[in-house]
Amino acid sequence: MMSGLLHHLLLVLNLSFRNPQGIVYGYLVPVIFLFAFGSIFRADTPPLLDHMGQIMTITILGGACFGLPTALVAERELGIWRRYRLLPVPTAWLVFSTMLARALIVASSVLVQLALARAIFGTPLPTHPGAALLAFLFVTAAFLGLGYLIAGLADNVPAVQAIGQCIFLPMIMLGGVGVPLMALPLWAQRVAGFMPGRYAVEVLQPCFQAPSPLRGAAFRLGALTVIGLAAGVAGTKLFRWEPGRRSGSARIWVTAALAAWAAVGAIAWQTGQLKPVLAQAGAWSEITEAQIAEITFDNLPNDNDIVASLAPPTLDPAATADLAPKLAAWPPGRLDDAGQSIRHLVALAAIADLSADPREAVLARLIFRQINTEFAPAEARQALAWIILSPEDGQIIRKAPELALYRHPPERLVRQRSVIYAQKYLGRLLRKLPE
């Protein structure tokens, strides 16, 4: 039986590579997308790096939403699946073999894109190939589930195109797959939270940049799993091995599959996963008051907790006599770029806290006082919001010998702790948190 399935897998691959239409859709179109992105984002340094997650998602989405169901439905119309039903092997195994072949085709197409991006645009390869592979598997499995459902719904090959576009186009336009999330209005960013495309990009993109790409990605991977599983179950219920009209229960199963999208989006919204995504690279000044208003201040640690402690506003001047002037003169907090200066100051509070420095609470209060007095209120709000919404952006310091902070905690922890301090500061500036 395994020999048969291996034969089937190899045959599907063989036939795909001998089909001109398959080559066009499987390889040429993804390359065209790569060049389209390359021409739009050629000024980035390095080019395309910030968009590789999108490019990969488009390729996987195309292979899954069009390639897989087109092959399944075309073979069903030819009566090939009727013939397969006569074999002494469960039909589900042949479906799996077909999906595996499609996953391999998509993987090869993605590899071609990565190689061309590297060769032509100089785009770096994923910094974490293992994480990239894992993310690819999750995204591909989820989208193949969708493709399988489309095959169950479509009565013929033209119907595959119609149904596939109903999934493909919204994700391209509003789902953060084609148009970057940061370029979308807030309402569209929230809508994207109800689509798997956003989560696909969000697990693939960090594999090119972030130090720990899949850390904190549990929700996104879970979202892809839930959406893919729901579609896969619905597709199995609607699977047909012979031509003919779909069953009357199609609406129920489509509703069930879409309910998974709705559930994922609702949970993401409720748990604060749908934070506004901002334009990158020093664009903190473009943060709007509407985006700032979206930020929540729930579940912050108390000011006298071990984590992110903050002294009361009334400080003993004698206790700060030595520290305050040094802080006021600290160069990283006095850059021309107010946003980066505030990020450095907040990081200083985070380093002291992570280093368990005895001055941590007092220093945190002094930093807040300095942000309040040295920067325009609007700038302070924007910069703090930037730290919260884009914790990975900007430069970060990990030690400050000028202030006797010599330990250098991991950058990841400094950035995480900076978010908590920024929330505490911004909440107070907005009077959403009590002193």
Binding site: H7, L11, L15, R82, R83, R85, L86, L87, P88
Partner: protein
């Protein structure tokens, strides 16, 4: 051809199947002896394909029992699959697949298949072995499907309208190949709506009409049992006189069309001899004589009251 009853290769009892409100099969019962070529004969929509698909496990009957070589399909469908090969009606393969690839693929699912080379040679597909399926002619495609049906060395072959849509030469070739399968000891169960094919190829026929078996017997027996008269057509110059023709012994009915007489009779030998004698007496020259014996078409007409051609099926559900 073998007519001797043999151990049952297929046993179908009380098979019923609905498609929505349409009752496609209404208690179909028949037995296929091992080693026979058994034909399911019926017009389009009679239920032939549904019967075969139930036997192949592609459809679940509403009720009734099917046994393949004694194996009950309700409990031993997997084992029965290993003993069965099938060629389905209207089947196709991927345009780009080659006959060799197809045979290797389907053979790979079985423990002891025929090799692709063996089957390509046997079914005269060697020259087309590595060409895409789309380039094969209708006859070559049917031969390939027959080869695919044989790939697992089955003892039972189920063929759904195997010669439909083929030219006469391709039909003859395929019929020869089907007979060869029988000589190897395999049982062949086929469906057809081709009366000539049914009469020439099958040892045993079951006539299916509107989801019911209305007769089961060897073709010759079915025809012999028909009440329809033989039809003798005679052309002479000058034409024979009506009075003389009507007085001939055994004439049941007669019609004249110019110099041609058409006579219905139950005793064609005697009538023909008498006709020749009368023509001699009248100094008339015989220009043509044609005898048409009762056929399966007549059998169908007798059994259903409808002519074979255009025998439309209410609620067509093949």
């Amino acid at each position: 051809m073998r007519n001797t009853p043999a151990p049952s290769a297929v046993s179908v009892a009380g098979l019923r199947k609905h498609y929505g409100a349409t009752e496609a099969l209404r208690g179909v019962t028949f037995e296929v002896g091992a080693g026979q070529i058994f034909g399911l004969l019926g017009p389009n929509g009679a239920g032939k394909t549904t019967v075969l698909e139930c036997i192949l496990g592609l459809r679940q009957p509403d009720s009734g029992a099917i046994h393949v070589h004694g194996l009950d399909l309700r409990t031993h469908a997997a084992q029965a699959k290993l003993l069965t090969g099938a060629q389905l009606q209207g089947a196709a393969l991927q345009d780009k697949i080659t006959p060799r690839q197809a045979l290797e693929l389907f053979g790979a699912f079985y423990a002891n298949p025929y090799s692709a080379g063996e089957l390509l040679g046997r079914f005269d597909l060697g020259a087309k072995a590595d060409l895409p399926f789309a380039t094969l002619s209708g006859g070559q495609r049917q031969r390939l499907f027959l080869a695919l049906a044989l790939v697992n060395r089955p003892t039972l072959l189920v063929l759904d309208e195997p010669t439909a849509g083929l030219d006469p030469q391709a039909r003859r070739t395929l019929r020869t190949m089907i007979r060869e399968l029988q000589t190897e000891g395999r049982t062949v169960l086929l469906s057809t709506h081709d009366l000539e094919e049914a009469g020439q190829l099958c040892d045993q026929l079951a006539i299916l009409d509107q989801g019911r078996i209305i007769a089961t017997a060897p073709p010759a027996e079915l025809i012999a049992g028909a009440q329809a008269p033989s039809r003798l057509t005679v052309r002479t110059a000058p034409p024979l006189a009506r009075a003389g023709i009507e007085a001939l012994p055994g004439v049941l009915a007669c019609t004249q069309d110019g110099d041609t007489w058409t006579l219905d009779t139950q005793s064609p030998n005697r009538l023909l001899a008498e006709l020749v004698r009368r023509a001699d007496e009248a100094a008339a020259e015989l220009l043509g004589v044609e005898l048409r014996r009762p056929s399966l078409e007549d059998v169908f007409l007798e059994l259903t009251g409808r002519p074979w051609a255009g025998a439309a099926q209410p609620g067509d559900a093949s």
